[in-house]
């Protein structure tokens, strides 16, 4: 049988981000996939040499718009560990609130794009309509719609007052109700099931060995979530990782869908337990040493390696984002699947290429 080499991406109708794959196909069946990155490589890590460590917060936030606050949180957490700063407890709870808002809007965005990928355009509109409520919450609480920019080394910049809290909780109730209404449309739909169930199976062992992260890992039955390590206020909140066991595209969809409700629940808990108090402490001195900082982003675990030598500027900043970790599992899933399933499989790892290439 003849082999055909097919370039896929970086511009493709279903791809929200410029990922390029060179696919070798044999009669519509994918045999091999080789990635090519670099379409949005910006070299942001290098900027650490000319911007001081407080300015870097705003820069790491721009690694990725969708998980901006989590990038900043992970970075601040690392610097705080180096400078021995204890963040006030109200700030920790507020960080949870913004982080979970980001998770909700990111998952809604993904569900919309996913629906769009197999031509379900009205569902795409529905999800994005709900997402707009969360964007409004972010704009009202932080001043910006996407890049909320609330984290500083030592705490947060903005507070949420009682009145806003009430409005947030009411909106979240609405969001939960509306998302729940779409449950039958996306999870019980015949077409959706045809396109996802049993396709792109990532076994438990493979997922662990290939270092998958986030929902891609948890949909294969491994209950690993960086929030269990207990950063910010998560140790005081009650939650357990959402897992699915089948490891196929459908499981990854269900996993993300259920995480929306988990995130809503976490925000409610955070508001219920939030203590009064100050928002930030002023850090003294300059960071020195090396640290590995990890948090759970909507797409999975992000790792920051920071090396500081006691000056204003960091010696080295390295960011390992979840999509970077999810590319090897994707390359493992692709061989053997139909060409028509490739777009859906790429989407189910929730790729964020601007994260990956920084």
């Amino acid at each position: 049988m003849t082999r055909t080499v097919l370039p896929f991406g970086p511009q493709h109708p279903v791809l929200p981000e410029p990922l390029h794959l060179t696919l070798t196909i044999e009669d519509e069946i994918v045999k091999e996939a080789i990635p090519k990155l670099g379409y949005v490589h910006r070299g942001l890590e290098k900027l650490a040499e000319i911007r001081d460590h407080t300015q870097m917060i705003q820069i790491v936030e721009r690694v990725c718009g969708i998980c901006s606050t989590l990038h900043a949180m992970c970075y601040c957490q690392g610097i705080e560990a180096l400078m021995n700063v204890e963040v006030p407890s109200r700030a920790k709870y507020l960080r949870v609130v913004w982080a979970e808002m980001h998770r909700i809007h990111s998952h809604l965005l993904w569900l919309g794009l996913f629906a769009d990928a197999f031509g379900f355009e009205s569902l795409f509109m529905q999800f994005w309509r709900i997402r707009e409520r969360i964007m409004d919450l972010q704009e009202a609480t932080s001043g910006n719609r996407v890049i909320v920019s609330v984290n500083v080394v030592g705490g947060v910049k903005r507070d949420i007052n009682k009145e806003t809290e009430k409005w947030i909780l009411e909106t979240l109730d609405k969001v939960a109700r509306e998302v729940n209404q779409l449950k039958t449309t996306i999870l019980d739909d015949f077409t959706v099931k045809q396109r996802t169930v049993g396709i792109g199976i990532l076994s438990k062992e493979k997922a662990y060995e290939l270092g998958a992260a986030g929902p891609t890992l948890r949909a294969s039955g491994i209950a690993q979530d960086m929030r269990q390590t207990g950063y910010a206020a998560y140790p005081e909140l009650d939650f357990s990782p959402v897992i699915e066991t089948n490891g196929d595209s459908y499981a990854r969809t269900v996993c993300r869908f259920n995480e929306i409700f988990q995130a809503i629940d976490l925000i409610r808990q955070a508001f219920a337990k939030m203590p009064e108090g100050e928002l930030a402490v002023k850090p003294k001195g300059l960071p020195k040493g090396e640290v590995v900082s990890r948090v759970e982003q909507p797409r999975g675990e992000v790792l920051y390696y920071l090396k500081a030598d006691g000056t204003k500027f960091l010696d080295r900043l390295r960011i390992r984002t979840p999509t970077f970790a999810n590319i090897p599992p994707l390359l493992d899933m692709l061989p053997g699947c139909d060409l028509a399933d490739v777009p859906i499989l790429i989407l189910t790892i929730d790729p964020c290429i601007s994260c990956t290439e920084r």
Binding site: I34, P35, K36, L37, G38, H41, G43, E45, K46, E49, Q77, G78, E80, A81, L82, Y208, E209, L210, G211, Q224, M226, Q228, T229, G230, Y231, G289, E290, V291, V292, S293, R294, V295, E301, L303, Y305, K307, D315, R316, R318, R320, F324, A325, I327, P328, P329, E357
Partner: protein
């Protein structure tokens, strides 16, 4: 805080010689560690490469110091997912990995016209 911001100390980081990379990572893999990623930093005359692995959310690191111009063995035969990050380090820092299953020739992100290793403070020319 359990482990989400782990300051690197001697307890969690083992300093290993250049030629033991594969054996040491194999030991960790057999213990059930998962490969997270690698980091690297320029030290002037050499490049320090850190391997981050975790098990039950606990991170363990291996540290190797690679003199510039020396080769290091790729651990892709142990953890196959390492090839991507090894290519990245090869491109940014000019560390040569031996036995990469998929070698982008230092052109994973940048194009051919980028002649230097962009992340080193003093770059070395690509040959």
């Amino acid at each position: 805080m359990k482990d989400s911001a782990l300051v690197i100390t001697e307890e969690n980081t083992a300093e290993i010689p250049l030629d033991e990379v594969i054996t040491q990572s194999r030991i960790l893999k057999d213990e059930g560690f998962r490969f997270i990623t690698m980091s690297s930093a320029d030290l002037g005359e050499s490049v320090c490469v850190l391997y981050h692995m975790d098990k039950d959310l606990q991170v363990r690191n291996l540290r190797v110091t690679v003199p510039k111009g020396k080769k290091i063995a790729s651990i892709a035969s142990v953890y196959s997912c390492a090839f991507l990050v090894e290519n990245e380090i090869k491109e940014h820092f000019g560390v040569d990995f031996d036995g990469l299953p998929l070698d982008f020739q230092g052109m994973l992100y940048n194009d051919e016209e980028v002649q230097k290793t962009p992340f080193c403070k003093i770059g070395i020319k690509r040959v």
